[in-house]
Amino acid sequence: MAKFHIPSKASRPVPLLEPRILTLTVMMFAVLGLLSLRLYNLQVLHHKENVELADRNRIRLQRVPAPRGLVFDRNHLPLVDTRPSFDAQIVPEDSDNLSLTIERLARYTGADDIPDKISDADEAGRPPYEPITVAERLGWQQVVALETHQLELPGVSLQITPARHYLYGQLAAHLLGYVGEVTKTDLQSHADYHMGDEIGKFGLERVWESFLRGDAGGQEIEVDAVGRRLRVLKEIADQPGENLVMTIDLNLQQAAEQAMAGKNGAFVALDPRNGDVLAMVSHPAFDPDIFGGGVKASAWKELMTDPAHPLQNRVIQGIYPPGSTFKIVDSIAGLQEGTLKPETEYNCPGGMWFGGREYHCWRKQGHGTIELHDAIVRSCDVYFYNVGIKLGVDRIAKWSNLMGLGIKTGIDLDHENPGTIPSSAWKQKRYHERWYPAETLSVAIGQGYVATTPLQMAQVAAQVANGGIRYKPQFVKYVEGLDGNIAKTYPPVIENRMKIDPDALEDVKDGMADVVNGAGGTAHKAHLDNVVVCGKTGTAQVVGDKGPSSEDETEDKTPEQFKDHAWFIAFAPKDHPTIAAACIIEHGGHGGSASAPVIHDVFQRYFQLNPPPPEPKIAKVLDEDSQ
């Protein structure tokens, strides 16, 4: 054997490796020997101790989700909290006649999917004697029924768990959102969640999930030899979620909800000084409480199939032609580009010819020869056709974009719709067609391709109010840490600052003030006695080619579903404004009669809560409006 003889490096390389392979083998065996010694130590020397530990070791760990953070309004009034709810649990092993127990339990709780829940839990690897939650958020009567029939329900127990509660039901439902049980898809993207955990699904609850959630705690639960639960031995404190203080004013929100009661549409109020959302309403709404603890299939289906789309947040997802409210954008664009001056005059005979077709003004009698101020006050279509023709669609688009139309506002909510602001490039891209100048006329009066969300129009009002600063709308003021201190604040974010001639802007403001307060104005219903409210009405056409919509408040005999959507945008007070708002009432008819009263009610409440500096009493102009 030439084992220790190395004939030549190249032909027999393996023997070279041999010493180290042997060293390695010895080391490996030494480690295995060490492991054997350790096993001897555990299994022979400490065997008795460990048997005792195993016998006493009846401790099982259970995760206890942390209570979610609370949500407050800007004055620290609670909007969302977490309160105890009663859930029914069953330990199938403790029931000798399981199907009978399930049948009775179903009768007392109304839960019809108990067998499914049991088989789901068993499939997920439930150890024996681990209870399964089969009915959640039981009502008082169900709890009493279970308590009194306890003897017929072996293995059934009641468990108290924290449940999300929305104090004012549907109030600000779209903004607050809702929570629900994690789905399998959620689990894939959120590694630190477990089956059965609650997670924010929509609105603030979803976007601020990481703050609200907190860290789960644990319970040491003693079980007997087969795994039956005996008692809780020790609890590891959970870390509750952090609280959120919103910019919403509960009082104002309630006023807005009340003013919008029974109507479909949207309302939003902003603080033009910083972009704070003061109130946000989208109707119809939903009850966020029904989603907690597993939404009932029937309730979910009802919400999904409701033709009025109650789950849609119309303030950011609803897009509507802005109608005459868009004339404010035209005015600013014209003044900024120099194609329009406050004293520019156009004659309105009730319509105008352009490109071989007649374009009507909503007032068939016409407005005569008027300047910008009167054109805004009386919402003359012909005047703004001319403004639009002078500007051309691309310059209208440019200033619309600068004012935040056709782009997302960036509010921290999901599914925001940017709306549409047409331009010649947009049309080329979208329809592969050139822009026809006549189309500019519909754009000028906020019809045609133009589509905006109520939040965007509130921003337009806010920019007129604050002199051209566009803030990102924000609805959370600060995060409150567990110690009650402010953990994180959200300072105002300026998205754009328009350089705007203050005198020109003053003319637009004067016009908007007279829309509410002046002779011939279209929104006298928004008038307040102690504050100068500035506003602009609008009507968004619902059916195709009906011609320009009427701003007139004469009786409208159009059937409900064909009635136009009513717009009103406003801010107040005229000098140093502190609130700006937009409102749309679907099929409301005229902005002046349907939407202006909503803003009136909210502004009235606002100035009751935040009294303005004393100003001379403003006389209400009595004209055809006060029927």
């Binding site: 492991l35 054997s36 460990n50 009846r58």
Partner: protein, 368 residues
């Protein structure tokens, strides 16, 4: 060729093959134990799957035996690149469970590329180290390429995060460069550097990984958190005693005291039910595999085959050492499978294929 076939069957390494099947059987028994639910008295689907994987693994083993291992030299780098690609895919589109991304869902199978990474690193290292070292052994400059070859998959695996596999990749590489002839001076330098780097690496650990290290040093510091696993595992093993509680009579695993009963902590399940006697049989089986691996390494016909045998043996050894060391509380919890025993398709099939390579090396020394 007929004569070749006869010789092939004659020289097939039955010893190693039977050792592998014995270990897989212990694995199957332990998976039955770990997943047994006395309330339902049914066989868990986990067991059926493990059985299917043992069958698939045996097929992989036999295919690996038929392949001339020398051909693997040309497949080392392509396979390595494929595995690195899979590890990147895991990061991008991986399937997350319990805080880490480790799997790729293939529909019928959850592929865990980090199990393939061990074999890939061994192949590519051996491919590089098959060259004769210069006089005086391999030095520091020669280690640059092995370091890069280790670094890429190790970084990807640690990112998942899978501390256990990362650690095994490093240990395998150290083993291979040691056997391939690293000079002693370089080894001393690396040892000192390693000691200095240890405190630094603390920075890169995730909070839960740090907590595991703390609870390893003092399990009572956090008896409900990560220390819980170590304490429960030690109790399970210790309660097994010299002869064990008997098949399906363990309580620790059954009552969910043990985490990952069928994968990382399967040893505790086995040792509780079969005691020191069973555990020593298991360790003896592993020792036999290692001895056989070392024997094959020493008798291989070429340097590549010899080092490849060392590498495959090193995979088995390090996983056994780290896994049992962890279950008995001698090492921190890093999460690694017990080779051929733990539940899991990727680890089982990859490990059985590796055993096939070992047999192939042994068989072929008679053929050429």
């Amino acid at each position: 060729m007929a004569a070749g076939d006869r010789r092939f069957i004659l020289h097939f390494d039955w010893t190693l093959f039977i050792l592998v099947l014995a270990l897989a059987s212990i694995g199957l028994i332990s998976v039955i134990s770990a997943s047994y639910n006395p309330a339902h008295k049914t066989i868990d689907p986990l067991v059926i799957r493990q059985l299917i994987w043992i069958a698939a693994g045996t097929a992989a083993l036999l295919i690996a035996v038929l392949v001339d291992y020398r051909a693997l030299q040309s497949y080392a780098f392509p396979f390595y690149i494929l595995v690195v690609g899979l590890l990147i895919a895991v990061m991008v589109a991986g399937h997350a469970t319990g805080g880490s991304r480790r799997w790729i869902n293939l529909g019928f199978f959850h592929l865990e590329p980090s199990e393939l990474a061990k074999l890939a690193v061994v192949l590519v290292m051996v491919r590089y180290l098959r060259e004769e070292p210069p006089r005086g052994g391999w030095g520091l400059p020669h280690l640059i390429i092995p370091f890069v070859l280790l670094g890429i998959p190790a970084a990807l695996v640690l990112k998942q995060p899978d501390l256990g596999t990362g650690l095994v990749l490093v240990l395998i590489t150290i083993t291979l460069v040691f056997v391939a002839g690293l000079n002693w001076r370089t080894m001393a330098v690396l040892a000192v550097a390693g000691m200095l780097a240890a405190p630094l690496s603390w920075h890169y650990l995730k909070p839960y990984q740090r907590q595991r290290l703390v609870s390893f040093i003092n399990p009572q510091a956090d008896p409900l958190g990560s220390g819980y696993h170590i304490i429960q595992s030690e109790i399970a093993i210790g309660a097994g005693g010299p002869m064990g509680k008997g098949f399906l009579n363990g309580t620790q695993a059954r009552l969910n005291f043990l985490p990952e009963q069928s994968t990382d902590f399967i040893f505790a399940v086995f040792a509780e039910e079969f005691g020191l006697a069973g555990a020593l049989i298991l360790l003896t089986l592993y020792a036999s595999v290692i001895a056989r691996g070392a024997y094959i390494a020493r008798h291989a016909r070429d340097r590549f085959g010899s080092l490849l045998a060392v590498g495959v043996t090193a995979i088995v050894f390090w996983q056994v050492a780290v896994n049992i060391g962890m279950a008995t509380g001698m090492l921190p919890v890093v999460g690694i499978t017990l080779p051929l025993v733990s539940y899991g398709g990727s680890s089982l099939i990859a490990m059985m294929a590796a055993m096939g390579i070992l047999i192939s090396i042994n068989t072929r020394r008679y053929l050429f």
